[in-house]
């Protein structure tokens, strides 16, 4: 299963980026192969508007089974994400990616 985190950095110790549309990175963890990869989303900085839908398009290319983030996607991004069969967990802000993963494992994150 592929789990994507919105991340403010590129390591397991980085903080969750609470923002979906303007997240700087996605950290993608495959819990079967234990592979970790990083997807750079920092180009979204240059978008005056429509960051949410631009990022939704990006996540579509990653095709994760689970998305873990902080505040949760905005209205437009949420509409786009509905097209993906993906579980979304929120309220992981103020956690490192590692903590967010543990909390997710223990069923402590709120699902959307």
């Amino acid at each position: 299963m592929k789990i994507a985190f919105t991340a403010a950095g590129t390591t397991w110790e980085s903080m969750i980026d609470p923002r979906f549309g303007r997240t700087e990175f996605f950290i993608v963890y495959n819990d079967e192969t234990q592979e970790v990869s990083v997807v750079d989303n920092s180009a979204v900085k240059n978008e005056a508007h429509g960051a949410g839908t631009a990022t939704a398009q990006k996540i579509f290319e990653i095709k994760p089974d689970v998305l873990i983030t902080g505040n949760g996607p905005g209205e437009n991004a949420a509409t786009a994400l509905k097209q993906l069969n993906m579980k979304i967990f929120v309220n992981a802000h103020n956690m490192t990616i590692k903590e967010a993963y543990e909390n997710y494992k223990n069923g402590k994150l709120q699902s959307l």
Partner: protein, 300 residues
């Protein structure tokens, strides 16, 4: 507390004129060097008048795009003007010219020009500053060019710079003076926040605006508190606001009665906590309360 766990507190009002900036500036003075200040009310930035930043670091800011036409290669076929839905390419003195005030940056003209005479360039829309303010604290703020528009991008940039500085300086708080309205810049002001302080007034439009902006806050699941400013101007409206706060589980932080101390302080270039009046103790008390609430939220 780990240096990365910073409390980001956003002050919002929905509409202008409620005293939001005066209150945000007072919190900034109280927080002193514990906080980095981010002024995201860039449409009508006023915080600098009270916090006296030194405008030490500045950087041009670009937002959106603008069509730029090279007359040297233009063959004056008029295709660009035909497709532009914003009448931004008038034919003046025998040549097609882009009117920057009208151009929406859609890029259609660039796509149809047969001689590649049009390129889309980033549009300069203002400057972002990093300053030291009178308390010794740090502030990130911006100034828009004339007729330029605030955007989610600009707000995100101001907040990101503030966050980086807060991390680097091991600060506990980021205090954000949020954007007005309920559009894209507000969403950007809010996202990533730990706590929102709503400043409202007991008027018919005050409650109406409060409800609208709270919709956005709720969507992002951010805890909020509310200050009713000039609460004594209309007791009945104040009560209605309080009922709304109760129903939505928004912390009712305080009622601040109308007090000329705010404008007296402003005239001296000060915040209300820097002059003597009953408001000083009250605003100090509110800030203390906010610190307690946010620290509790942040340690779960």
């Amino acid at each position: 507390m780990s240096s990365e766990r910073i409390n980001e507190i956003v002050i919002l009002s929905g509409k202008g004129g409620t005293g939001k900036t005066s209150i945000a500036a007072a919190f900034s003075v109280l927080a002193g060097e514990e906080a980095v200040i981010a002024d995201c009310d860039v449409d009508a930035a006023n915080m600098h008048l009270l916090l006296k930043p030194d405008f030490a670091g500045s950087l041009d800011f670009f937002s959106g795009e603008l069509a730029v036409l090279n007359q040297d290669v233009c063959i004056r076929c008029g295709k660009c003007a035909d497709v532009c839905r914003f009448n931004a390419i008038p034919f003046i003195e025998n040549q097609y010219t882009i009117s920057p005030l009208d151009c929406e940056g859609c890029g259609y003209c660039e796509k149809v020009c047969p001689s590649f005479a049009i390129v889309m360039k980033e549009r300069k829309s203002g400057k972002v500053y990093t300053s030291t303010i009178k308390t010794g604290g740090i502030m990130v703020h911006a100034r828009l060019d004339i007729a330029a528009e605030n955007s989610g991008k600009l707000v995100a940039k101001v907040k990101k710079d503030a966050k980086d500085l807060a991390k680097a300086g091991n600060k506990e708080y980021i205090i954000v003076d949020g954007s007005p309205g309920i559009g894209c810049p507000v969403v950007s002001s809010l996202s990533g926040a730990n706590y929102v302080v709503l400043v409202t007034e007991p008027t018919m439009s005050g409650l109406h605006d409060l409800i609208r902006v709270y919709e956005v806050i709720k969507r992002f699941r951010i805890k909020a508190g509310c200050i009713i400013n000039k609460s004594d101007v209309n007791e009945a409206q104040s009560r209605e606001i309080k009922e709304f706060l109760l129903a939505e589980q928004i912390d009712h932080l305080a009622d601040i009665p109308y007090d000329s101390a705010f404008s007296s302080a402003m005239i001296e270039g000060k915040t209300v906590v820097e002059i003597q009046s009953p408001r000083k103790a009250q605003v100090e008390e509110i800030w203390k309360q906010i610190k307690i609430i946010t620290n509790k939220n942040n340690t779960i």
